[in-house]
């Protein structure tokens, strides 16, 4: 086994000195405090932090906790063998197994185990990997299988092989695993799409592919002695590992949620991949997101291990970024492109990533779908439905039954939510279940420009042509004007007449008035959508149970007309109606150990409490208080006369808000509050008040696993006073001779947009682009 220094930690002495001598500051200090306090307050609830804390402090209690974690894992190995997950989804178990091997190696460097213990643990770790995960790696077709599963298996086999084939008493099993793992690992990286996007959605990019890259690069560099592998083109396709890191960063939307493309939908992002990207590339995109968009209280497995924050701390760079460009505007010919304002308050992505033929469970059919985000709040809806609930996108021919998901059990599911109709794109003849049925290039042409003209377009005719043979052209171009509004041009041409629908899926709520569709999110962001060319009929429909997050439902808006050539031009204008004023800090806090206090009892205890916290994180992460689930906070605040809103932290569980002894109803944020901070309007009776006594009750996760595998979100973001601001409303729009003029109640905006010119055969001419 590697013996000298902790595997993959660049310089343990420097890191240990920085931490133990109190040299960390700012967010890095906050992060270490969170890891250390969680690890010490509740080691079995935060087991993935524990070995790192022991390695750093070397204190007896921390080391004892870490020993217990390793032995717990070893004892888990046998019962784990009877688990459906282990037998059918072994890649999910291989990656954390490799992580435990790394942590075991770390602990051996501080002599945490006796010689006999070390031998016992080592033998079990090697043996288990050899018969389960080495076997698992060999089930995956080589070289065809390029996905998070194979990456996990090849990486973990290489890591385990490397650790245990070195030093004294090298293992032959480890040597074989290293040989076979390193034979396949570079090819898995090298055959990833050049965009860095594997097509498996943000979840797998963030939780497996992204976090695997730093480890793969580091271990391959150690094995080969080569340097800068992050930037190397890997055979056979020339993909660079750094592209995966970049795509992980690009998946962040303003406000910190990830793109809900493909399976799983909106969610928070992980951090260590960004820290490694910042460390190795120096590019601002990584720093920006790490420092401005990420939250600490999102706890989810990276490679099915909850150690994201540990690696974030290990890799967080000291240096400043080397470039000015924030990277929010990006384009990948095989995936999509973004149009983002300088202040990031306006965000549009148009996407066309390849969908999986026949059964698009993970890589959805979303040719040219657009997603909009305004003032750092998502306005579009996309993702996956509520588990086990019926919804509108379950089609008769998209049911599937499989027997390889669970032992002795057949699983039946519907993959209709992966088909075209569940996305904000173009639907032909109401064919919502449209999908590809064989392998081919699904996109004909793409383009992008940033600067004076800022646009993105794609011709996605092939996938439509497969389904409707007479269709010659399906095209969409989105453009951004005056740093203020978007235009979306749709064009469809076929031989025969078809019903052509431009579909948008929005978050609730939607109303249509005077041909303008207005979307008003629960957070007070308003989107106005107008059709400038064409006279389609507009229909709206509430879709229950899709997507699951953030609202458990969505609003479908269809613009439809029959024809063999249809062109539409949409105006999208987003406004805010709320302004954040001041953050409220220094809350009195009490823990409610049994979760049984009523309001009166809690207020009495709060009055007597001298403990105050900023309320940016769960109290046990900000102080040395125990990791209780239920907490009460209280603060007297000043407010301006007039209407007022309170912005609560995101990710509160079972929140209750009392203002001047009266409870305010939070039901409308019950679902969305997990991912988006609620803005709660205080009833009119408070308008003239200038002092408010605010009491908040909240439950928080008490460990890694409270999210049941989907990641826990603890409250974060603080409490803010907000006041209404005048909404910018469209009053008049004209589009003539390529000039677009938008008059609002506050401004006049003038931009230019030339429609794509199409030849008789439906093909665009170059001037139009």
């Amino acid at each position: 086994m590697i013996e000298k220094s902790p595997f993959l930690i660049e310089d343990i002495d420097v890191l240990r000195k920085q931490i133990m001598n109190g040299e960390l500051t700012g967010k890095k200090e906050e992060l270490w405090n969170l890891i250390r306090t969680s690890s010490r307050n509740a080691p079995m609830d935060f087991g993935w932090f524990v070995p790192f804390v022991a390695l750093i402090t070397k204190e007896k209690e921390d080391v004892e906790n870490a020993r217990k974690i390793i032995f717990t894992y070893i004892d888990k190995l046998d019962p784990m063998s009877f688990c459906s997950g282990m037998q059918y989804h072994f890649w999910c178990f291989a990656f954390p197994h490799a992580k435990m091997c790394i942590y075991f190696q770390w602990l051996c460097t501080i002599t945490a185990f006796s010689e006999d213990e070390e031998k016992y643990i080592k033998e079990h770790l090697i043996n288990y990997h050899f018969v389960n995960f080495f076997y698992g790696m060999r089930t995956k077709p080589d070289p065809e299988c390029i996905d998070n599963q194979t990456l996990s298996l090849c990486l973990s086999t290489t890591i385990v092989g490397y650790i245990f084939s070195q030093g004294r008493n090298p293992s032959k099993m480890a040597e074989i695993m290293l040989r076979e793992g390193k034979k396949r690992l570079p090819g898995v990286i090298g055959d990833m799409p050049l965009s860095g996007y594997s097509g498996e959605g943000s979840s797998y990019m963030d939780c497996v592919n992204g976090p695997a890259i730093p480890l793969a690069v580091e271990v391959l560099e150690r094995i080969s002695g080569e340097k800068d592998l992050l930037f190397k083109e890997f055979a056979p396709s020339g993909a660079k590992p750094v592209s995966v890191l970049k795509m992980v960063a690009r998946e962040f939307m303003p406000g910190g949620l990830l793109l809900p493309w493909d399976n799983y939908g909106y969610q928070f992002g992980v951090r260590s991949t960004l820290a490694y990207g910042a460390l190795k590339t120096g590019e601002k995109i990584f720093y920006n997101i790490l420092e401005k968009e990420c939250i600490w209280t999102y706890d989810i497995g990276i490679g099915w291990a909850y150690d994201d924050l540990v690696w974030t701390l290990c890799w967080w760079p000291k240096n400043q970024p080397i470039n000015e460009e924030d990277g929010s505007n990006w384009f990948e010919p095989a995936a999509g492109g973004t149009l983002v304002s300088r202040d990031t308050n306006h965000y549009l992505i148009q996407m066309w990533d390849e969908s999986t033929p026949n059964i698009p469970t993970r890589a959805h059919v979303n040719p040219n779908a657009v997603l909009l985000n305004g003032y750092k709040v998502p306005v579009s809806a996309d993702g996956s439905p509520m588990p086990n609930k019926a919804h509108s996108f379950q089609f008769e021919d998209t049911w599937r039954s499989v027997g390889f998901i669970s032992i002795n059990t057949e699983t039946r599911y519907n993959y209709g939510d992966g088909c075209c109709g569940a996305h904000s794109g173009i639907i032909i003849d109401d064919c919502e279940g449209m999908r590809a049925h064989k392998e081919y290039v699904q996109v004909e042409d793409t383009g992008y420009q940033v600067g004076e003209e800022h646009y993105v377009y794609a011709d996605v005719t092939p996938i439509y042509q497969e389904n409707f043979t007479d269709i010659h052209k399906v095209f969409r171009k989105s453009s951004f004007h005056c740093q203020r509004f978007y235009l979306i041009e749709d064009y469809v041409k076929g031989e025969n007449e078809h019903k052509i629908t431009s579909r948008f899926l929005f978050r609730p709520n939607v109303e249509v008035k005077d041909e303008i569709v207005k979307v008003r999110t629960p957070e007070g962001v308003v989107l106005q959508l107008m059709e400038l060319l064409g006279n389609s009929s507009i229909t709206t429909r509430r879709i229950m149970n899709h997507p699951f997050k953030p609202d458990g439902c969505s609003e479908l808006v269809d613009y439809s007309i029959n024809g063999n050539e249809v062109r539409r031009l949409f105006l999208v204008f987003m406004s805010n109606t709320l302004k954040e004023d001041t953050q409220i800090v220094d809350f009195k806090v009490i823990g409610d150990q049994e979760g049984i206090l009523d309001y009166q009892e809690a207020v009495k205890k709060l009055d007597a409490s001298s403990m105050t916290v900023p309320m940016n994180l769960p109290a046990y992460m900000e102080t040395s208080l125990p990791n209780y689930k239920t907490w009460w906070y209280q603060k007297k605040i000043e407010k301006k006369p007039g209407k007022c809103f309170i912005k609560l932290p995101v990710g509160m569980w079972e929140p209750r808000l009392f203002v001047n002894d009266m409870e305010i109803d939070l039901a409308s944020f019950a679902v969305s509050g997990e991912l988006i901070a609620p803005r709660v309007e205080l009833p009119e009776q408070y308008n003239e008040e200038t002092q408010l006594n605010v009491v908040i009750k909240v439950e928080v996760p008490v460990g890694h696993y409270d999210g049941g595998g989907d990641g826990t979100v603890g409250m974060t973001g603080g409490v803010w006073l907000c006041y209404p601001m005048e909404q910018e409303v469209i009053e008049n729009v004209s589009y003539r001779n390529g000039q677009i003029e938008v008059r609002t109640n506050q401004n006049k905006y003038t931009g230019f947009y030339h429609l794509l010119q199409h030849k008789a055969d439906g093909k665009g001419d170059e001037d139009g682009k």
């Binding site: 079995m44 087991g47 993935w48 974690i69 717990t72 894992y73 004892d75 888990k76 190995l77 046998d78 019962p79 784990m80 063998s81 009877f82 688990c83 459906s84 997950g85 282990m86 037998q87 989804h89 999910c92 178990f93 990656f95 954390p96 033998e123 079990h124 090697i126 043996n127 050899f130 018969v131 389960n132 076997y135 060999r138 089930t139 995956k140 077709p141 065809e144 299988c145 293992s171 032959k172 099993m173 074989i176 497995g301 099915w304 291990a305 909850y306 599937r400 499989v402 390889f404 669970s406 032992i407 002795n408 059990t409 890694h704 696993y705 049941g708 595998g709």
Partner: protein, 188 residues
């Protein structure tokens, strides 16, 4: 948990000792011995491999009932992330020999198939076994995929109907290996 680590290491380090362990009671040792055979690429192992495959077919590899639950955990991938003490709960006690079959499933068979592939020589008796795997309902997909892959190396045109049948199995790895094998055999 059974730990014959030293023997597994021994059989991999010293292929000349393989025969001593082919009937070892611990399937992990047999698994290591078979991988050691594949490493040697020696055709003398083919009769042994056929015999082992026949023996594996007599075991109750796939008869595990779904667990009733796991103390502190779940019967799915969420267990992977948990560093907590867990315990499986079955509807009743099962003999240890049977539980060993369930832990093993198709692992030893897969190791045999890859060893045969690495040796790379066609033997009719073995081809028949491989063809059988591709037709047998309930056979582990890892075994079916390895069978298809191995047939692509040692099979002949007569294997193609079996591989075409395997394309009907709704599992991506099996379909991919079957497709590859058909292509390869048609090209020969």
């Amino acid at each position: 948990m059974v730990n014959n680590y030293d023997i597994m290491e021994q059989v991999l380090l010293h292929p000349e000792e393989i025969e001593n362990y082919l009937n070892h009671s611990d399937w992990r040792v047999r698994y290591a011995a078979i991988i050691s055979m594949g490493e040697t690429k020696d055709k003398k192992w083919l009769p042994y491999l056929a015999e082992i495959l026949r023996f594996e077919d007599t075991r109750n590899l796939y008869s595990q009932p779904a667990v009733q639950g796991f103390e502190n955990s779940y019967d799915d991938t969420r267990m992977a992330e948990q560093l907590v003490p867990i315990k499986e709960i079955f509807d009743r006690d099962y003999p240890e020999e049977l539980r060993e079959d369930w832990r093993c499933r198709g692992r030893v068979k897969q190791a045999c198939l890859f060893a045969i592939r690495d040796i790379g020589i066609s033997v009719e008796e073995i081809l028949t076994i491989l063809h059988t795997y591709l037709q047998r309902p309930g056979e582990d997909y890892a075994v079916c995929a390895a069978s298809a892959m191995t047939l692509g190396i040692i099979g002949h045109k007569g294997s193609i109907p079996y591989l075409e049948k395997a394309l009907e199995i709704d599992e991506w790895c099996v379909q991919t290996e079957a497709r590859k094998a058909i292509r390869r055999l048609n090209a020969d």
